[in-house]
Symmetry: C2
Subunit: 343 residues, 2 copies
């Protein structure tokens, strides 16, 4: 007995599909008028994340419009610090904020209760699997420990996450403890998403690019490897995409180091290097989101290059970072047609 | 007849010195109480840049304290857009701002008058050469066209300079024209600095890291190569350091592509890769500035690793990015002692 054919699952298991399947990071987002409409009714941003009804609705919106090959759970990487009672809030126009974590507080973080707090998100996954077309891959996700820790330490985003780098230099033992805590609860969270019906999960390490070489191994590779081991220990064969934005040549050892099925590539990764990485397994990416905003020839050129260099191996077409609010939904329709070779 | 021995000049000409000479990016800055004192008397930040008296004073302050092997002209990369009448202002706590450049305005930019506007900066260089110890290298600098253009287009700094990327996709011809204009006036500006007594100049491409592979060649390598050609055409043998922050593996071709004497390395450049780059010529960098803030063991470890891997080739010791305001001046003193092997 075989289930429905889900293209992104197939690529994650090593198949090459032509045309490649496509989804976009942040595909449920502000560039869509229907998202803005639901968002305005949902209350705060976190209310939206914790409302299965609304979160399911916004997750499905881009699937209805574009028939993307994957839906990704609508949520945020900062629900983990929120569940750890760090007083997370999303201030309009200012980005996320939370109480900055002092070194003395690391030992006070309480992982128990986190999954209870996140049960509405798991319920969203469950409903999504029921409501999605059978051939649409459902992706869960969470933030990587390093990236989540950078926000927890600074209390907000910064241009180069200097506060977390400094914390790690000053308090290496407490910092590794923090990463371990985050890795373990994030692994539990991903297991719950898989159990609720996610076909695969993506781990977002959005701030991997500010780490030096040794620190990348210790703080980006190590904790994600720990998560992969935990998730696969509990759910053998679990499919995992790891996306270390800005990691550059550190990606050479990232797949092997983390044992992820596929690695995500941001838009700065040279395609010749991407092709090398693809020899070891599936890759996902890496169109510059600004090419979608520009549309037309700039978008066509970007798509052509990616398909030319990576199209003959296991590829999940995606952007190199989340789609931005100013992207024209018509450009996204053009993009999907371009990738699928529909003229 | 030979002049005084200037260590950083010697390294730029290919010599290996042990211990390596040292200076720090933003060494004249807010971490020094004497800088804050002068700054408070100087008026606005741009007033400080355009006052030879005050700019000389703050440039000399770190030389007096630490006897760094180079002094770097106190100025800012945004004096070029200021000279182009883009209404540059530095708003306390908000970073630099200027009038955002529309595509229709590129053709209206007037390079004539720029050097007149910048004559106080050139006067600062002249006075510095007179007042500096004879064996201290004097460095001039300017921003690279790509980086300066990113600020001009957005009107301010952004997290990933998406506005300039978008502008380049939408208006590739106008964008190249803008880069040409910036390259040409920046080259003239560097020539004037060299004529006033600078031993070498550094070109800062602080935002090179947000460019894709093809764009890096076109927008980072190309314009800097154009500048190097212009400067060396006018002043044969001119010594140039090119610093493309975040360029990662693109650095492989950066030295050859730009023909710079030395290349700067940010703190994320793996040391094994740095050693490869050093085989082709001098390198400068790359201690994480947060290690200086942390001080102690974290700083020692960082210094040791750099000296171990890069110390036996042509190296200018520096940070991987500017020193930050919260750095303790005592840690900087420790750093200088560590690099110079004084215990």
């Amino acid at each position: 007995m075989t289930g429905p054919f889900r293209k992104i699952v197939a690529v994650l298991e090593g198949q090459t599909l032509s045309p490649p399947p496509i989804w976009l990071m942040r595909q449920a987002g502000r560039y869509l008028p229907e998202y803005r409409e639901t968002r305005s009714r949902a209350g705060s941003f976190l209310d939206l994340c914790y409302s299965p009804e609304h979160a399911v609705e916004v997750t499905l919106q881009p699937i209805r419009r574009y028939k993307f090959d994957a839906a990704i759970l609508f949520s945020d990487i900062l629900v983990i610090p929120d569940a750890l009672k760090r007083n997370v809030r999303f201030v309009q126009g200012e980005g996320p904020q939370m109480d900055p974590l002092d070194v003395s507080e690391v030992a006070t973080l309480r992982p128990d209760g986190v999954l209870d707090h996140l049960s509405p998100v798991i319920e969203t996954v469950r409903r999504l699997r029921q409501e999605l077309p059978k051939d649409t891959t459902l992706l869960g996700f969470c933030g990587a420990p390093w990236t989540v820790a950078t926000y927890m330490i600074a209390g907000h985003g910064t241009s180069d996450q200097a506060p977390a780098r400094l914390f790690s230099y000053r308090n290496p033992i407490a910092f590794e403890r923090l990463l371990d805590i985050l890795a373990d609860i994030s692994a539990e969270y991903l297991i719950a998403q898989l159990d609720a019906g996610a076909d695969a999960v993506q781990i977002f390490d959005s701030w991997a690019g500010v780490l030096g070489e040794a620190e990348f191994q210790r703080y980006a590779v190590g904790p994600v490897a720990r998560m992969v081991r935990k998730v696969r220990g509990a759910r053998p064969g679990a499919r995992i995409i790891a996306f270390a934005k800005g990691a550059g040549m550190n990606l050479k050892t990232y797949r092997q180091g983390t044992d992820a099925n596929a690695i995500g590539l941001d838009w700065t990764v040279p395609l010749s290097f991407a092709a090398e990485l693809q020899k070891d397994g599936p890759v996902q990416g890496n169109l510059d989101p600004m090419r979608v905003v520009a549309g037309g020839r700039a978008m066509e050129e970007g798509v052509d290059r990616i398909l030319q260099v990576l199209g003959s191996g296991p590829l999940i077409f995606n952007l190199g970072h989340g789609i931005t609010p100013e992207a024209d939904p018509e450009h996204v329709a053009d993009l999907v047609r371009l990738v699928r070779g529909i003229t």
